[in-house]
C-alpha cells in the first residue's frame, strides 16, 4: 500500500536480464503490420498465440471483441509491471515504483470517477490496472467505498491523502471532479521527481533527467492543448513543477500563441531531439502527430540510455515505456478497426521505433 521499506542492495543484474528478455518478446513492426489487417476477433486470436495467451484465455469467456482485447492488455500490463516490483530490491525498487505510481494515480482516478458516476464496485474494479504500489486488497476496499468521501478517507494515509482532502472541499463546493483529478496527477508528478536528483550515480542522474523531460513534455502537451482549444483556462492550474523547460510564468505567456511556443521549444535543450516533431506540428498542424513524436522521442532516449548504462535503472525504464506503448498501439489498432478506420489512419495512431 505505502512504500515498502526495502533493504539490501539493488539487484540490477537480475532485473535487467529478465527485463531484456521480455523486451525482446514485444511486438515488432512485422506484428503490427499483421494486426493492421485484422478485425477485432482475429486480433484476439492472434494475441492468443503470443505473450497474451493466459489473459485472453482467462477472460475469453466473459468478454468478447474489443473489450476482451482491452481487458487482456490491461491485465497483462499489470502482471508484467507487478513482476518488476516483485523482483527489484533496494534502491532499484524505489526507482521503479516511482514511475509505476502512475497506475496508482490511474486507479485512484478510476475510483473517484466510478463513484461519481454511480457505478457499482464490480464495474470499478474491472477497470483497475493492478500495476502500481497499492495492493489488490486495498484497491478492492477502495472500490467498495460507498461515496467519494469514504474513498478520500481511505486514502488518507497514502501520499494522495493531503492533496485529495484539500481538493475534496473544492469538489463539494463546485460539484465537478476536475480539482480532485488534478490533485491526484499533481501528487504523482511531484513524487516522481522528488529526491531522485540528489544521487551521485551518473545513470541515476540521467534517470532524473528523463523524468524531468517527461514532466516537461507533459507541460508542453497541456499548454498545446489549451492553446489549440482556445478555451479560457488558466494554464497555471495545470502546471506541473519539477521540469526544466519552463516556469509557471513563462507557461502563462506562451500559452497564448502557438508560434511562440514552438520557437521557445526549438531554442531549448530539447530542440534537436524534437526538431522533426516541431516541423510536423507547424506543417500539418496536427496535435496528435506531435504528441506521438514526443512519445517516440522519449522512447528513443530511454533506449539509448539502456545501451549506454546496461546495469542501471535505464533498461527497466525503457522496457516499461515500450510495454506501455505496445499496449496503447494494440488498443489503437483494435479500436480503430472496430470503428472502421482505414489502415493509414490507424497507422498514424501507432508509435513505433
Amino acid at each position: 500500500m505505502s512504500v515498502k521499506e526495502t533493504e539490501g542492495t539493488s539487484n540490477y543484474e537480475y532485473v535487467t536480464a529478465r527485463v531484456k528478455a521480455r523486451r525482446a518478446k514485444l511486438f515488432d513492426e512485422e506484428d503490427y503490420r499483421k494486426l493492421l489487417r485484422m478485425g477485432p476477433g482475429e486480433i484476439s486470436r492472434y494475441m492468443e498465440e503470443t505473450e497474451y495467451e493466459t489473459e485472453i484465455n482467462a477472460l475469453g469467456a466473459r468478454y468478447s471483441g474489443v473489450d476482451l482485447i482491452e481487458y487482456a492488455l490491461n491485465r497483462n500490463l499489470a502482471k508484467h509491471f507487478e513482476d518488476l516490483l516483485q523482483w527489484a530490491d533496494g534502491r532499484l525498487y524505489t526507482l521503479i515504483a516511482r514511475y509505476l505510481r502512475k497506475f496508482d494515480a490511474w486507479n485512484v482516478k478510476t475510483v473517484i470517477r466510478g463513484l461519481y458516476s454511480g457505478a457499482d464496485s464490480e464495474t470499478i474494479a474491472e477497470d483497475f490496472i493492478y500495476a502500481g504500489e497499492f495492493d489488490r486488497r486495498f484497491l478492492d476496499r477502495l472500490a467498495e467505498a460507498g461515496s467519494i468521501e469514504e474513498a478520500v478517507e481511505l486514502l488518507e494515509g497514502t501520499r494522495y491523502g493531503d492533496s485529495l482532502t484539500e481538493a475534496f472541499a473544492d469538489y463539494e463546493e463546485t460539484g465537478v471532479l476536475i480539482p480532485m483529478e488534478n490533485a491526484v496527477d499533481r501528487t504523482y508528478y511531484e513524487g516522481l521527481i522528488g529526491g531522485v536528483s540528489d544521487t551521485d550515480n551518473r545513470a541515476n542522474q540521467l534517470y532524473a533527467d528523463f523524468l524531468r523531460a517527461e514532466i516537461d513534455f507533459r507541460n508542453v502537451r497541456n499548454v498545446l492543448r489549451i492553446a489549440r482549444s482556445g478555451a479560457d483556462i488558466d494554464p497555471d492550474e495545470y502546471f506541473i513543477e519539477g521540469g526544466d523547460l519552463f516556469g509557471a510564468s513563462e507557461l502563462q505567456q506562451l500559452s497564448g500563441s502557438l508560434d511562440e511556443l514552438v520557437t521557445y521549444i526549438r531554442d531549448s535543450t530539447y530542440g534537436d531531439d524534437l526538431a522533426d516533431a516541431l516541423d510536423r506540428l507547424e506543417d500539418a498542424d496536427s496535435l496528435i502527430e506531435f504528441e506521438h513524436a514526443l512519445d517516440a522521442a522519449l522512447m528513443e532516449y530511454s533506449d539509448r540510455l539502456s545501451h549506454v548504462f546496461p546495469i542501471s535503472i535505464c533498461p527497466v525504464l525503457s522496457y516499461i515505456l515500450a510495454k506501455e506503448r505496445e499496449v496503447e498501439n494494440i488498443r489503437a489498432v483494435a479500436r480503430g478497426r472496430e470503428a472502421g478506420l482505414s489502415q493509414d489512419e490507424i497507422e498514424t495512431e501507432l508509435v513505433m521505433l
Partner: protein, 93 residues
C-alpha cells in the same frame, strides 16, 4: 597502513630472534602461506564476479529455459581466475 607494516616488521624480528629459521627478518609469512593467500584472494575475486553474472544468468534462465547451458558457462567463467591462481601454488611449492 604504515603502523601495520611496522608492526609486522617488529613481529618478524621477534620471530627471527626466537630462532624460527624458516623466516627471514622481514618475512612474517612463509612462501607457501603467501601462495595460499593469493589463491584465496583470487577465489574472492571470482566469487564477486560470479555474483553479478550468476544473478543475471538466473534472470535470463527464468525467462527462457533454453539459456541454461549458456548461463551456466557464463557463470563459471570467472572460475578460471582461481585455476590460474593455483598455478602459483605449483610454482612456489
Amino acid at each position: 597502513m604504515f603502523d601495520v607494516i611496522l608492526a609486522m616488521v617488529e613481529v618478524s624480528v621477534l620471530f627471527a630472534q626466537s630462532g624460527l629459521e624458516a623466516l627471514t627478518p622481514l618475512q612474517a609469512i612463509t612462501e607457501n602461506g603467501m601462495a595460499a593467500l593469493a589463491v584465496g584472494l583470487a577465489a574472492l575475486g571470482a566469487g564477486y564476479a560470479e555474483r553479478g553474472i550468476g544473478s543475471a544468468a538466473i534472470g535470463a534462465i527464468a525467462e527462457d529455459e533454453s539459456l541454461f547451458g549458456t548461463g551456466l558457462i557464463m557463470t563459471v567463467l570467472p572460475e578460471t581466475l582461481v585455476i590460474l591462481a593455483l598455478v602459483v601454488v605449483f610454482l612456489v611449492g
